[in-house]
């Protein structure tokens, strides 16, 4: 397993709808395919956390019709980072300590925070969720 020598960036803007979630997954598929050098656990964890955040925004953020969600991803030697942004009112979340095993909803944000560091902010009418996973750096091939 090795990490890239420099940052690689990706981005997508998609409607805050089911179709937008599919577009986000398509981008995350691309990131996965192009960065096999990262350990599977890091890629899976980041992908799952981002997907949970985006799904939560679509399902609960109460965005205006026609709103867009933007996702920026950066793959760095020591870190995988993502930023999900959506214009709108501030979003109030309640992060539960635990979720009953028979619950059919309510696991998404808790799951995301178990996988990555999540920072929420609302500045100038824009909600942003910064998703970070620190990864172990390995030496890149010398040839």
């Amino acid at each position: 397993v090795r990490s890239p020598r420099s940052d690689t960036r990706y981005s997508v803007a998609a409607p805050a709808t089911d179709r937008g979630l599919t577009a986000v997954h398509d981008l995350l598929d691309r990131v996965r395919d192009e960065h096999a050098e990262f350990a599977a656990i890091d890629r899976l964890s980041f992908r799952t956390a981002i997907a949970e955040i985006v799904a939560n925004v679509i399902d609960h953020a109460g965005l205006a019709q026609g709103s867009l969600i933007e996702l920026d991803v950066v793959m760095s030697p020591n870190m995988i980072g993502g930023c999900v942004t959506a214009a709108g009112r501030p979003v109030e979340y309640e992060l539960p300590d635990s979720v009953p095993l028979d619950a059919e909803r309510g696991r998404g944000l808790l799951l995301a925070t178990q996988l990555c560091d999540i920072r929420y902010d609302h500045v100038d009418g824009v909600n942003s969720w910064r998703v970070t996973r620190v990864v172990e750096a390995h030496s890149a091939p010398t040839n």
Partner: protein, 111 residues
């Protein structure tokens, strides 16, 4: 997107799923199990071998399917989970509820 195909193996209904089980497709999965229950099925095996991603909504739909099956005196098993699915089952503790099996045959034999 996701596709579901159902087939009967004796009294057991096997649901072959392919795609992503997420916010978009969770409702459809609930409907697949509800339709099965409505036609008299009680025992379900959900084959996740071709499922590439499951999120919390997908997990919730599996829990809903399990509860629906148990409500009619049946049960639901899952099998052939990927590394990503194992990860979310482990973190949420749902592996203790959904009891993933390695293969369809093992899940069927468990009833």
């Amino acid at each position: 997107m996701i596709e579901f195909r159902t087939r009967d193996v004796g009294e057991i209904t096997v649901v072959d799923a392919a795609g992503r089980l997420d916010l978009v497709s969770a409702t459809l999965f609930r409907e697949v199990i509800a339709t099965g229950v409505a036609r008299g099925a009680r025992l379900f095996v959900v084959d996740l071998a071709e499922v590439v991603f499951v999120d919390s909504s997908g997990l919730g739909s599996l829990v809903a399917g399990l509860k629906l099956a148990r409500r009619v005196g049946g049960d639901l098993r899952i099998c052939a989970t990927s590394e990503q699915v194992d990860l979310v089952l482990d973190l949420t503790g749902l592996g203790r509820v959904l009891h993933p099996y390695r293969e369809v045959t093992g899940a069927i034999a468990s009833f």
